[in-house]
């Protein structure tokens, strides 16, 4: 049963930020594909609900060779999935969206809402962090941009303060000789991942690893960026043995929680396997690029 609330429907971003600042016990709804579930369970019961779904000034996808990709917060998953621009420049992002929940959910759910919900099992965050994305948030006091891996603080908690909304996701232009791969392990194609791994690899002119990121999904309170894998791989010529070692780091340094879908042990095993596979896949793409 959803508790009663006062409904606020601002017609512009400016009004939305003013309303948000004004009301203390206020929750923001965009697509609401996750929020309404927890509201129905009574876990979230705000006095005010601020609806930003129809703020079109936050719905856009743009690309610039210098600045890279900009996705407005109220852009739907389906718009990202079907964007020819994203399919061409960031195929891993389009492929991830294609496996995010169902078409119906992608038609209504938004990228900003997904990130703000901060479910560690969410699909976009690991891929975006592997792509070195940043996030722009704003309030009536002003805007700030932070790296996406610093945005997630704990289970369902972000670094945003009260009054701040997500405005935009920013992804740098695709680097040369770079591959990015993402896979989640699940039993139904459109489910959330039991665990997920995103990996990026950039090679230098000699074919050595210039840069890499491995980000684990649903393996702890937040998406986990495995910095120890970065220090293991950077500067080295990548091979199967190193991928194996990286997988071990994911298995041991992650913090997965057992539930009805899989035990902790099983999740650690899967994280190791997927880390190895995604690094290999990213490396193969980088070699071709």
């Amino acid at each position: 049963m959803i508790h009663d609330f006062h409904y606020l429907k601002p017609d512009s971003l400016k009004t939305a930020l003013a309303m948000y600042a004004e009301h203390e016990d206020c929750k923001v709804i965009c697509g609401g594909q996750s929020l309404l579930i927890v509201m129905r369970q009574g876990m979230v019961a705000p006095e005010y609900l601020l609806d930003i779904k129809h703020i079109h000034e936050l719905s856009y996808i743009s690309f610039d060779n210098q600045k890279g990709l900009r996705i407005g917060a109220t852009t739907t998953h389906r718009e990202i999935e079907q964007s020819p621009l994203i399919q061409e420049k960031y195929p891993v992002l389009a492929a991830m969206e294609n496996k995010l929940a169902s078409i119906q959910t992608r038609n209504w759910g938004t990228i900003g809402g997904n990130l703000a919900h901060a479910d560690p099992a969410g699909d976009p965050a690991p891929v975006l962090i592997a792509l070195k994305a940043s996030i722009k948030v704003g309030s009536i006091k002003g805007e700030r941009v932070m790296p996406l891996d610093e945005f997630f603080v704990d289970y369902f908690e972000t670094a945003m303060e009260h009054g701040e909304l997500i405005l935009e996701v920013q992804v740098p232009p695709p680097a040369p000789k770079t591959g990015v791969a993402y896979q989640k392990f699940n039993l139904l194609d459109s489910d959330m991942g039991i665990v997920a791994v995103a990996a990026s690899v950039t090679l230098d002119r000699d074919g050595k690893c210039k840069d890499t990121r491995v980000v684990l999904g649903n393996a702890g309170p937040t998406p986990l960026r495995m910095k120890n894998i970065e220090s293991l791989l950077i500067g080295k010529k990548l091979n199967e043995k190193l991928f194996e070692e990286a997988g071990k780091i994911s298995s041991t340094e992650s913090q997965p929680v057992a539930d009805i879908h899989a035990s902790e042990e099983h999740r650690r095993h899967l994280l190791g396997v997927l880390t190895r596979r995604m690094l290999k896949q990213a490396c193969d793409i980088a070699q071709k690029g």
Binding site: I2, H3, D4, F5, H6, Y7, K9, I29, G32, Q33, L36, I37, R40, L49, D51, K53, H54, R78, A101, S102, I103, Q104, T105, N107, W108, D189, S190
Partner: protein, 163 residues
């Protein structure tokens, strides 16, 4: 709790209703307007029985606040029939026996309709059809006949239906 005015178009007809803002779209469609073709199933965005189209796109009406579709056009399974004639996809479902208990049917029809509209005449691959109904569960597991029905329409077998 104060009531809010919601204006929306359902199956071509304009409506104005006064609702508590926590009212879900499926509740307005079923309880306020009486279109009970749209079903309430899991109510957790999983089963797809409540699928309708909003401005041509399929959505799950159990997990959308009705206030969010203010001014928009909604089509339910009742809206597929025109001038007493079934739509091609409805006819194809009949011909292929694409249901057993029927509970998922209205949602399946709406997902299929949005998918076929989006194709705009392009003939889809079989896996695309399966993906198009991935958000709809059929607990009788009658998926094959549903896929065959959608495939038949996509391949133009029911072109003459709407004369």
């Amino acid at each position: 709790m104060e009531k809010y005015l919601l204006k929306l178009t359902v199956n071509g007809q304009e409506y104005e209703v006064y609702i508590n803002p926590k009212t879900l779209l499926v509740e307005v469609i079923r309880d306020y307007l009486g279109f009970t073709g749209t079903k309430r199933g899991c109510e957790t965005v999983s089963c797809g029985a409540c699928t309708v189209t909003v401005n041509g796109k399929s959505v799950k009406s159990c997990s959308i606040l009705a206030m969010q579709v203010d001014g928009m056009e909604i089509v339910t399974s009742e809206g597929l029939e025109k001038n007493g004639k079934l739509s091609p996809i409805q006819k194809a479902f009949l011909d292929h026996g694409a249901f057993q208990c029927g509970f998922c049917t209205s949602g399946m029809l709406m997902s299929a309709t949005a998918f076929l509209d989006e194709l705009n005449g392009r003939i889809p691959k079989k896996h695309e059809i399966k993906e198009a109904i991935e958000g709809n569960l059929c607990r009788c597991t009658g998926y094959n006949s549903i896929v065959r029905a959608i495939e038949a329409v996509a391949q133009g077998e029911y072109k003459e239906e709407r004369q």
